[in-house]
Symmetry: C2
Subunit: 268 residues, 2 copies
DNA sequence: TCGTAACGGATTGTGTCCAATACTGTCACC
DNA sequence: GGTGACAGTATTGGACACAATCCGTTACGA
């Protein structure tokens, strides 16, 4: 995520042409700090360093990053637009806690843009693109069996990468957003599962795309998303070690943050 | 658009339960002013009172609405997320001017969520919902022949209304966003066309939904969107009264705002 | 013991200030 | 006549300070 997708990464559009006037200014590049706050916060959420429901106080975050509340607020506003953060009037910002219903809706919606992606890409994959995809899957497989945050992030980034290859900026943006939201949902609802078998499913999709079999690619993608959804939303009913809170959280519809329980802060 | 769609209208989520503590406070309700700025700006853009490329100076807008730049900045940030406004570092904000390529992409993407909408709604339309839809179409027909901004707005709101009826918040949000972007594109590229025949197409879709014919509804929606796209992006090549600028604007890829030409301000 | 009301602390909401940057117009020079 | 550099001006970027709101606690009364 070094250079992240254009849609979500940058507030300010670079001016086209006339190459940057002052190349590489040594001091902190002003507006980029705002982007840094946004990117770091976003990544912390997706990697589950910040869990759903965690409080995000403006001043605390500002101190951590060495910026004022103004910039933090801007970053939070953008994260709200991404659906990763919720804001409550006079109470502050929290990492979003999508309800079970909202989670279902996310997966419901997600199949549409992702279906379009594979349709566009089937048979239209440049050699170099295919290589990048294979490389990504290889990276995923290195995490096979583990279930750390990197694994979740990598799995999501595969879908984003796929979408970006279509060249359709808006499409890439939508996919990126639903993927982010899915990561959040996984953090909230999914039980630890032994092995993330997503990587091999990803590989299958790539094969179908290279073969130019649009129908099969769409079928595979649909199945893959269905599998992810199932893993996320249908944990074993009688699983041990399930706390009351874990159960109840699924039924709290408009996810009001718990007033007291919120830890003062969490750092990535 | 009195009470606009939840997703885009409110920064702050209302606290659930415990009915509002201080009912109807007389003074301006603080955060609502920020929402007002956002909503009015958004509407001004969609109704084409503000045209693509128009400059949006923070202080001028602030004066117009009687708020400080802080609130304006927040509203602009949200409009950026909606794709209605572009920001350029140290140059300010402008009404977005999607390129022809981006416009194509918007319509390309748009069919997906809208297809899902009619699929979900086919045969699942409550009587009251059907009535609301019919009422809306009736309102549209009142503008038959005219081509004012209200007509464009109403046509767009039909799609948003449809999406909201699915009950899927995220889906409604996506549709709302692509509809907004489409309005912008219509403002940029479409030639005045004699009669907006969209209303009757909308009526046909409603009939198919009531009949529970999902396939036909999806077909109709697809065709409808195709028709809109064609009207928007394929004007008569030899149309008279076409200025050089009108032509060139279609080929400027990364839409940098013209440094000089921007009118100092436009008021809605 | 429970319910209600008031107080204090903490956090956010908003406005305003100063600095940095880019654009525009003018002038000198080639 | 055209190109380049320079200074003035306007606008934005960011930070800070004050005010408003809300939460949690405590004290009081039934």
């Amino acid at each position: 995520m070094a250079d992240q997708p254009a849609h979500t990464g940058l507030i300010w559009r670079e001016r086209p042409g006339r190459g940057r006037p002052t190349a590489e200014r040594p001091t902190s590049p002003a507006a980029d700090r705002a982007d840094a706050v946004y990117a770091d916060l976003r990544r912390a959420i997706i990697e589950q360093s910040l869990m759903p429901g965690d409080k995000l106080p403006e001043d605390t975050i500002g101190e951590s990053f060495g910026v004022s509340r103004t910039l933090v607020r801007g970053a939070l506003t953008r994260l709200v637009a991404d659906g990763l953060v919720e804001q409550w009037k006079n109470r502050g910002s929290f990492v979003a806690s999508p309800s079970l219903v909202e989670a279902q809706q996310v997966f419901d919606v997600r199949r549409q843009p992702e279906g379009l992606v594979v349709e566009r890409l089937a048979g239209a994959l440049a050699r170099e693109h295919a290589n990048r995809l294979h490389g990504h899957v290889a990276a995923e497989k290195r995490f096979h069996g583990k279930e750390g945050p990197e694994a979740i992030r990598l799995a999501g980034e595969f879908h984003v990468l796929l979408a970006e290859l279509t060249g359709n900026t808006l499409l890439a943006r939508y996919v990126s957003e639903v993927v982010s939201r899915s990561s959040l949902i996984l953090a909230l609802y999914s039980r630890p599962h032994p092995s993330e078998c997503g990587a091999s499913e990803h590989a299958e999709i790539i094969e179908a795309l290279i073969a130019g079999n649009a129908a099969r690619a769409r079928y595979l993608m649909d199945h893959h998303l269905g599998a992810v959804q199932e893993r996320a939303l249908l944990p074993k009913p009688g699983a041990a070690g399930r706390s009351l809170k874990d159960v109840l959280v699924r039924y709290a519809e408009p996810r009001e943050p718990l007033p007291m329980a919120s830890p003062t802060q969490r750092r990535a």
